[in-house]
């Protein structure tokens, strides 16, 4: 039997069994990859390759942005930035039908854009706006669905850790270019959901009564400026060459530390070690996975698995429209069962060559793939953001899922737009001179 097919089968079968059994994903990846090359290489070459791949998969400068953005997100979460952003979002959405839910969407986009985490957005926003919505007579399932459906926008609107991971696994695609490319798709996702909310809220008669006086509005705006400044400093600094994308993450940490320690005084110095330790833990989880999955990418390249799969896909048809549709559906299925980082690490080396052969730009492919996997974070059975949103919204998965279906339809339409209209992703990076 062909080496690629044999190794592919070993990996697939072992991986599925171990994942279903509830093994840590990283270990399941490592064990199945090692077993796939043991029959080919000798024991020594196999274990050295394994150890070396883990190490070299981790010791990559651009990955440093991940712990730093996680730390910055945790500092901001604790530092009371969420509340200030909600007030600002309320000011923006005003008295539109379902204004509180619309506020939630805008706040998710703002907060997610800073913290780069869908779960952080879902928990922070859901737990603050949710109760207010209930008081105004909103159905909790309606509120939770709006919160859950839009929490992943922060993963598309930069900065975003999964884009950094993609940059690495796709062979060094510019992180700055990916960041720029995420803006429009992220906004479109948010807008599509706001449209759904508008229609639903109008039907249900959710109309806001709260109103800001001029003085209050000014105060809200002033209070939010330091938070917004963070976006300006980090993204602006990257674009104007004051620091690289990786260094931008350090700036985010330092800025949010100074803000919450000295200006808001919302974090005490002695609370810092705990914040660092929690961030280190989350880093350990993600980075170990990245390290071990680089064993798998190596084994796949070594045995020629991606080539076999892409040959198979391209042999099926050479209609670009159909192949992209197949890839999207495969990725959606993957996303329902798998978290973003491992899915990105495993499937980029498989699908990128296929799409590159079709003449697709790497940045465009990255955005399409991340968009897809973002949807996965809010679908059962494995959807971290969904779980968090359900928990803070005090609802049941079954009932909120029914409400979510219409959002899925809207998001899926945006996905198709992102897939088939490259300009949605490439316009902004092109404007900045990255493409």
């Amino acid at each position: 039997m062909d080496i690629a097919v044999l190794s592919g089968l070993i990996i697939l079968v072992m991986l599925v069994i171990m994942l279903v059994a509830g093994m840590p994903i990283a270990v399941a990846l490592g064990v199945s990859s090692i077993c796939a090359i043991l029959p080919i290489l000798n024991f020594e070459a196999t274990v050295v390759t394994g150890a070396q791949r883990i190490f070299s998969g981790i010791s990559v400068f651009s990955l440093l942005a991940i712990p730093f953005f996680i730390l910055a997100g945790n500092i901001m979460n604790k530092g009371g930035i969420a509340v200030r952003l909600i007030n600002l979002a309320k000011l923006v959405t005003g008295r539109a039908p379902g204004a509180l839910a619309q506020t939630n969407v805008v706040a998710n986009m703002l907060f997610g854009s800073i913290s780069g985490s869908g779960t952080a957005a879902a928990s922070a926003m859901g737990s603050i706006i949710g109760p207010i919505e209930k008081e105004e007579g909103y159905d909790p399932n309606f509120s939770a669905a709006a919160n859950i459906a839009t929490a992943p926008t922060g993963l598309l609107i930069p900065p975003s850790n999964v884009m950094i991971t993609f940059s690495l696994v796709s062979g060094g695609t510019s992180v700055a270019a990916l960041f720029m490319a995420g803006y429009v798709p992220g906004f479109l996702w948010g807008l599509a959901c706001m449209l759904v909310i508008y229609v639903l809220a109008k039907k249900k008669g959710y109309q806001s009564t709260s109103r800001f006086t001029g003085k209050e509005a000014l105060q809200v705006l002033l209070q939010a400026i330091p938070c917004l400044l963070l976006i300006v400093i980090v993204i602006g600094g990257i674009i104007f060459g004051i620091f690289t994308a990786t260094e931008g993450s350090v700036v985010a940490v330092v800025y949010s530390l100074i803000l919450s320690l000295f200006f808001y005084k919302s974090i005490k110095l002695k609370e810092l070690p705990q914040l660092f330790k929690e961030s280190a833990e989350m880093t350990g989880i993600i980075i170990f996975l990245i390290g071990v999955s680089s064993i798998m990418s190596w084994v796949m390249a070594f045995t020629g698995i991606p080539t076999a799969i892409s040959d198979g896909l391209l042999g099926l048809t050479n209609n670009k429209f159909i192949i992209l549709l197949i890839i999207n559906i495969l990725l959606l299925v993957v996303g329902t069962f798998m978290d973003m980082t491992p899915a990105c690490l495993i499937f980029t080396p498989i699908f990128l060559p296929v799409c590159a052969a079709l003449g697709m730009n790497t940045i465009h492919f990255g955005i399409m793939m991340i968009f897809n996997l973002c949807i996965g974070t809010i679908t059962p059975p494995v959807g971290t953001t969904l779980f968090v949103g359900v928990r803070v919204g005090n609802v049941k998965i079954e009932t909120v899922f029914k409400q979510l279906l219409i959002y899925f339809a809207a998001i899926f339409i945006v996905l198709l737009l992102v897939t088939y209209i490259p300009q949605i992703s490439l316009w902004l990076p092109g404007l900045m001179g990255y493409v």
């Binding site: 171990m18 994942l19 279903v20 059994a21 509830g22 093994m23 840590p24 994903i25 990283a26 270990v27 490592g30 064990v31 090692i34 020594e44 196999t46 274990v47 050295v48 390759t49 394994g50 150890a51 070396q52 883990i54 190490f55 981790i58 010791s59 990559v60 400068f61 440093l64 712990p67 730093f68 730390l71 985490s117 004051i242 620091f243 260094e247 993450s249 350090v250 700036v251 330092v254 070690p273 330790k277 961030s279 280190a280 833990e281 989350m282 880093t283 350990g284 989880i285 993600i286 980075i287 170990f288 390290g291 069962f337 978290d339 980082t341 491992p342 974070t377 059975p381 494995v382 971290t384």
Partner: protein
């Protein structure tokens, strides 16, 4: 039994403190790198490598710590439905596989790669590459100790089989 608990707590404390120290160090070096290049026009020739390797150490040590807490990302949608003896057997089997992976890849492979690279020096710091690689077998040993304690605790009923959190991103 009490000794085991003390061992686990001690390792936890040492590891999480080590991660805090390295992480804080990384923030300082990262800031230093930007400041000296942008404001003093003298780029640091060592900071990038120092940052990368500190980060690698921090990430591997903290991932060992997370193995102790049994908190690595997993898919529980089927496994969590099992209960009782079956669940216990499954969880013990998982710990055994983690242990095997740590021994074979991280410890065996890690020590061999250290041997291979002791004469190599890193590009800008000039320290032996083998020294930098030490963290691989080190984290392997830590994971082995944690999994052994986990297995004993699981069998003695001191930790519930389902006592693993669904991790958030």
């Amino acid at each position: 039994m009490k000794a085991l608990n003390t061992l686990r707590k001690g390792m936890d404390r040492i590891l999480s403190s080590a991660c805090f120290v390295i992480f804080a160090f990384m923030v300082c070096i990262g800031t230093y790198q930007i400041v000296v290049r942008y404001f003093f026009n003298s780029p640091s020739t060592v900071s990038e490598e120092l940052l990368t390797y500190s980060f690698t150490w921090m990430a591997l040590l903290s991932s060992a710590y997370v193995f102790g807490k049994r908190d690595h990302m997993r898919m529980g949608f089927l496994a969590d439905k099992l209960t009782g003896q079956k669940r216990l057997a499954l969880e013990v089997a998982i710990e055994v596989l983690i242990l095997a992976f740590a021994v074979i890849v991280l410890i065996f492979g890690g020590i061999r790669i250290m041997d291979l690279t002791m004469t190599q020096v890193t590009a800008s710091l000039g320290i032996p590459m083998g020294t930098v690689y030490t963290v691989v077998p080190l984290s392997g040993v830590l994971i082995v100790v944690y999994t052994v304690i986990n297995i004993i605790d699981l069998c003695a009923g001191r930790i519930e089989p389902g006592d693993t959190e669904e991790t958030q991103e």
